[in-house]
């Protein structure tokens, strides 16, 4: 660390606000998003319609919500790939409790409690028992997915209670335009983005991911910070799971297959580094939106699944490679 950093000149604070804005990675992502939208608005039918735009935001709410947690765990220097399986699992307590009690509050409470427990287990095994987080969450992914199959006998469980409040989570739109699910996701994004930038705890997460030894010397409880990050991640995946359960009106055992890959891809695309300590939730959100608009636009063009997969794969690799090249150039002077 001592050598690479010696040569680059310190950034000048006097450089204009606008110039600094342009330099930020989020700006590049934002331009990329604008480009994607511009491209499809010319090529894909109906792309720019209010209906389609709000649809995309509603669809993005899942990855966005879970992505917050994923990004926070990444920033703390760990990974959580159990979120896809958790997404499916969480619908079980939710739907079962709602069917039993006719109460949305109890259902959501039960789901959050379940998510909390999973977060505690992931966090404990990683932060306190010291097992590599990739291994822990891979194992947890198997356990949760298998557990759902076991419990449900591979049957989806319908939402028999069909509470209006729950249905509103899926169908409801503010002023008949903006889906509630999108409002929840962006609300959470605002809250957590504020936390990460302006709360001591958020900065602790950055410090722990950036350099755990330094963080410890600065008096932070590194293990507790990481532990908490896993809980946050699980709780946010829980919220995403609740939204999904509402969108599909049931507990789906196959929900969220490969979801973790989508979220990880979007998060990394958004400039959040797997190495920890680098990236922002804004970047993550832009990454999610880029991929979401891309898949919506490709659908709009009538491109089959296989092309969507190929293009998404290429874009992820290209984006990360580009980002890496930029970083190396910056260091090389």
């Amino acid at each position: 660390m001592s050598h690479t950093s010696m040569t680059a000149a310190p950034d000048k604070a006097e450089s204009s606000f606008f110039a600094r804005l342009l330099k930020r990675q989020e700006m590049a992502l934002f331009l990329c998003l604008v480009l994607v939208i511009a491209f499809f608005s010319f090529t894909a039918e109906n792309f720019l319609s209010v209906r389609n735009m709000t649809n995309v935001f509603g669809q993005a709410s899942l990855a966005l919500t879970a992505g917050i947690g994923c990004a926070i765990v990444f920033i703390s220097g760990e990974v959580d790939i159990s979120i896809g399986a958790l997404l499916a699992t969480i619908a079980l307590p939710l739907i079962l409790i709602m069917n039993g009690t006719e109460s949305l509050v109890l259902g959501i409470g039960g789901a959050l409690l379940f998510g909390l427990i999973i977060g505690i287990v992931n966090g404990y095994l990683t932060a306190y028992a010291g097992i590599n987080s990739l291994i822990v969450t891979l194992g947890m992914m198997f356990i949760l997915r298998g557990g759902v199959y076991l419990y449900t006998g591979q049957r989806a469980i319908p939402d028999d209670a069909a509470l209006d409040s729950f249905i509103a989570l899926s169908d409801g739109r503010l002023f008949g335009v903006i889906p509630y699910s999108a409002i929840i996701a962006f609300g959470l994004l605002l809250i957590f983005a504020y936390m990460m930038q302006h709360r001591p705890f958020g900065r602790q997460i950055y410090a722990v991911g950036g350099n755990p030894e330094v963080a410890r010397l600065a008096g932070y409880d590194v293990r507790r910070v990481k532990f908490t990050c896993f809980i946050i991640s699980s709780l946010l995946a829980t919220v995403a799971g609740i939204i999904l359960a509402a969108r599909v009106g049931s507990a789906q055992h196959t929900a969220g297959l490969n979801f973790e890959f989508q979220v990880v891809a979007a998060t990394v695309l958004g400039g959040v580094s797997l190495a920890g300590g680098i990236g922002s939730l804004t970047g993550m959100a832009l990454g999610v939106l880029i991929l979401q608009f891309l898949s919506n636009g490709l659908r709009g063009l009538g491109l089959p699944t296989e092309w969507q997969l190929v293009i998404t794969g290429i874009i992820i690799i290209a984006a990360v490679a580009f980002d890496e090249a930029k970083r190396r150039r910056a260091i090389g002077g």
């Binding site: 899942l62 999904l244 509402a246 599909v248 789906q252 969220g256 699944t305």
Partner: protein, 341 residues
């Protein structure tokens, strides 16, 4: 390709003749959200739909959920935003599209379901899974009596994931028992509907129970996976019967030609199902009465029977519409998903 076209024309003439002579308004656009477009079954469903839509001059578009329920909802939303006149959906899962139907209703978009029934649906085009299994079971029973000395020890390469596939397995056993009452299901496996997974789980089951003499697969991948496990174990196919379901693609034709034990295929004619779904969509668009369940025909094919329904030129198969359209579908299924619980 030419051949296919001529067949299409012939069948078009036939069906047009069969339609009531009233003037119908044609929907401009129909959108279809399929479950899993890369699967052969759905590809052939889509082929049937495309053929029929072209015939009727309807713009037809497909979106693929790729087994992801969240994606399915998203694709259907996209279609509605685009303003399709009728939506056809193959639910990834029966329970998962309830909110989608709700949305479509509030958007005044009629929906035809393919394959799986959903609470609150208007109409569904589907085969009778139980019946399909049942009649192939009856044929398997006859074969067992004749060639296998009247014993029937079945390995079911099943898929508990879907009620449709569970019904097939049940139907098969029930049909089989009408001829061989002492037939038993020795192993009830979850083959994932995938050939490699089916192969893997079958290998273990075959090792445990050496007395298995009938392999039943809920689709062609499953029956072939089971059969490949049998072959890999180094067993002769002399005292074995393999029964497949679906007739989804080319695999079963190959197998019936080359594998001595692969004698029975419960064909489900995906092309026909797609064809019927488009017709149903047109009816819905015109506000006509349609039954809740429009049954698409199936038939057990034994030995060389497949040639009656398909032309095969080593790389593609083409359906013989007149033969398939001549098949009579039952009005009602013997058993449906509702009977499972």
């Amino acid at each position: 390709m030419k051949q296919l076209k001529s067949v299409l024309f012939a069948s078009a003439a036939l069906t047009l003749a069969a339609l009531p002579a009233q003037a119908q308004n044609m929907p401009k656009r129909i959108g279809y959200v399929t479950n899993y477009a890369t699967h052969e079954w759905y590809q052939n469903v889509i082929k049937g739909m495309q053929a029929r839509a072209k015939e009727l001059g309807i713009q037809f578009e497909v979106q693929d959920a790729n087994l992801d329920i969240a994606k399915q909802v998203a694709a259907a939303e996209d279609f509605m935003a685009k303003g399709v006149d009728v939506l056809i959906v193959t639910p990834v899962n029966e329970e998962g599209v309830v909110p989608l139907l709700r949305q479509a209703k509030s958007n005044d978009t009629p929906v035809v379901l393919e394959g799986n029934p959903v609470k609150g649906m208007t109409t569904m085009v589907a085969i009778c899974d139980y019946d399909t299994g049942y009649f192939s079971g009856v044929e398997a029973g006859k074969y067992a009596k004749e060639k296998l000395g009247g014993t029937a020890k079945v390995m079911n390469v099943g898929l508990p994931l879907l009620s449709a596939t569970v019904l097939r397995s049940q139907g098969f056993m029930d049909g089989l028992k009408t001829i061989v009452p002492e037939a038993v299901m020795v192993h009830d496996l979850d083959g994932g509907g995938n050939p490699d997974r089916a192969l893997e789980v079958s290998a273990a089951a075959l090792a445990k129970n050496a007395d298995i003499n009938i392999i039943y697969g809920i689709n062609d991948s499953s029956s072939l996976g089971g059969l490949q496990a049998w072959k890999a174990a180094g067993k002769s196919q002399d005292a074995l019967l393999t029964v497949g379901t679906g007739g989804e693609g080319l695999a079963f034709i190959n197998a019936m030609e080359k594998e001595p034990s692969y004698r029975i295929e419960a064909a489900m004619f995906p092309e026909k199902e797609g064809y019927t779904a488009i017709d149903a969509a047109v009816k819905l668009f015109n506000g006509e009465e349609v039954p809740e369940h429009i049954v698409s025909p199936t038939a057990p094919m034994i030995g060389e029977d497949w040639k009656k329904f398909y032309d095969y030129d080593a790389s593609t198969r083409s359906i013989k519409w007149d033969a398939v359209n001549a098949l009579k579908a039952p009005e009602k299924c013997m058993k449906t998903a509702a009977d499972l619980k």
